[in-house]
Amino acid sequence: MSGTELSVADVERVPQPPERQPLLSVRQASHTIDGQQILEGISFDVYPGEIFGIMGMSGSGKTTLLRLLIGLERPTVGRVFFRGEDMTVLDEDGLNRVRKSMGMCFQYSALFDSMTVAQNIAFAVRNRRDLPRADVERRVHELLDVVEMEGTENRMPADLSGGMKKRVGIARALMEEPALVLYDEPSSGLDPVMACNITGLIKRVSEDRGSTAVVVSHDVLHLLAIANRVLMLHEGREVLQGTPDDMRASEIPIVHRFVHGVGTGPGTEFCPAR
């Protein structure tokens, strides 16, 4: 935990229109694992309804940052605020309360392999006595329609392709109509067509439902196509934060190389630049 008391009001922020209150705020978050600094001094806000992208090379700390946002890990230093509530001081019961307003799609889907597609999607509400079974089934069907997976209710995760698993993972994350959905590398391991489909699905889901999304990806092309604002990380530190156009126009070498796919080292002259 941080040695200093930080609040959303006290610390320096990225300038914002005064009428917009962030849904999610990160303040000077740093994280160390086994003595290794993974993240250092990360600060940003995510506003309701926007798609916020986090990009960077492999090992830059993107997934770790995502885990901090949903409380799977606590920052060694710094704070994470959700709707103004400091998540870093909450116990697991408190975090569970906050998580009911969040959904997360994992890089490898993390579907429960002993359950059917329908059971996976309905898992979060399995003990909700206020929800009749018929309503749950109807909602599962609706979500499968949204992710274009109609008729797969009784299939097992082992029978699904990678892209199908991603879609079911998205449906599962949306079951409780969360205010914030986190996506960890949603297009990784997918062919270009499927990656485009998943990216389009994320955009459509956010727009249709008015939910906020944080998307972690090293797939620059798709991320910059859908994000409203982007944070780029390198070796655990913030390099640049701004709009996709800011990223494309940046003259910062690491940003430029990453956005335009310019490699370094021998042999990379064969890589086509974007």
Binding site: N96, F112, F123, A124
Partner: protein, 257 residues
């Protein structure tokens, strides 16, 4: 010398970590149980897996164990002119030791390893994290059903094991010495104390707890690599067996002085 000390230190730290993690997991499990955090369907599923599915191998183990034991005892008893006590000797040994201990070891090898493997696989594939993101405590959802299943079914299996062991003993005693069922079973009621049988069941309760807690602990603390699941599964069985034997010694001294 230095490397030996370093290795000793490393083992000591790992042992302390194991006991710490296991104790914490057990405490969290008990808290959930005391708060009523029990889901019936998963518990029943686990009872079927731990108890019902272990019955065949427990039965085979105890049948042959009873036969072997009776083979040795019947021969010696005949020499000493104490053949009329063979049934009791087998029943006493089954109830005190072999029934609960062998049952627990078989269940540890079968169900304890399965717990470690299943939870370990869930850990490396981020399913445990997925549970947490959906406001579900992995201990409440995964460990509590297995804990209750082992706690309830291992004692039942131990009782069944006692009976099968005694029956196996009769088969061998009859085959080797021609002992009748009246001779064999007749010595049991007047000599086998109810407390002896109860003590064996109490032992089995503790053994069941060991199996569930150690199996789940190894699974939940698996490092994120595929080979680690295999290692965790092996460790779960080894640690369970070691702890069962150690607990058996303590419980025998306490319950059957």
């Amino acid at each position: 010398m230095v490397s030996a000390l370093a290795a000793l230190g490393s083992y000591t730290l790992r042992a302390l970590a194991f006991f710490g993690e296991t104790s914490e997991l057990h405490l969290r499990t008990l808290v959930h149980v005391s708060r009523g955090g029990i889901e019936l369907r998963p518990t029943l599923v686990q009872m079927a897996r731990v108890g019902v599915s272990s019955l065949p191998i427990v039965a085979v183990t105890m049948l042959f164990s009873g036969m072997v034991f009776a083979y040795h005892v019947a021969d010696q008893a005949e020499t000493l002119g104490a053949s009329q006590y063979v049934g009791w000797a087998v029943a006493e040994t089954m109830a005190r030791e072999l029934g609960p201990a062998l049952t627990a070891i078989v269940v540890a090898a079968r169900a304890g390893s399965a717990m470690a493997a299943e939870l370990g696989t869930m850990k490396v594939t981020e399913q445990i994290d997925a549970l947490r993101t959906m406001a579900t405590d992995p201990v409440q959802y995964l460990v509590v059903p297995r804990y209750l299943a082992a706690l309830l079914t291992v004692p039942m299996l131990a009782l069944i094991a006692d009976a099968i062991g005694v029956a196996g003993g009769y088969i061998m005693a009859h085959e080797t010495t021609g002992m009748t069922s009246a001779q064999y079973f007749g010595s049991i009621p007047g000599n086998l104390a109810e407390w002896t049988v109860a003590a064996g069941v109490i032992k089995a309760v503790f053994f069941g707890i060991i199996i569930a807690v150690v199996g789940c602990q190894q699974g939940l603390y698996t490092q994120k690599a595929s080979e680690e699941v295999g290692k965790a599964t092996t460790r779960a069985v080894v640690y369970c067996i070691m702890l069962i034997y150690a607990a058996n010694l303590v419980l025998t001294i306490v319950l059957l002085p």
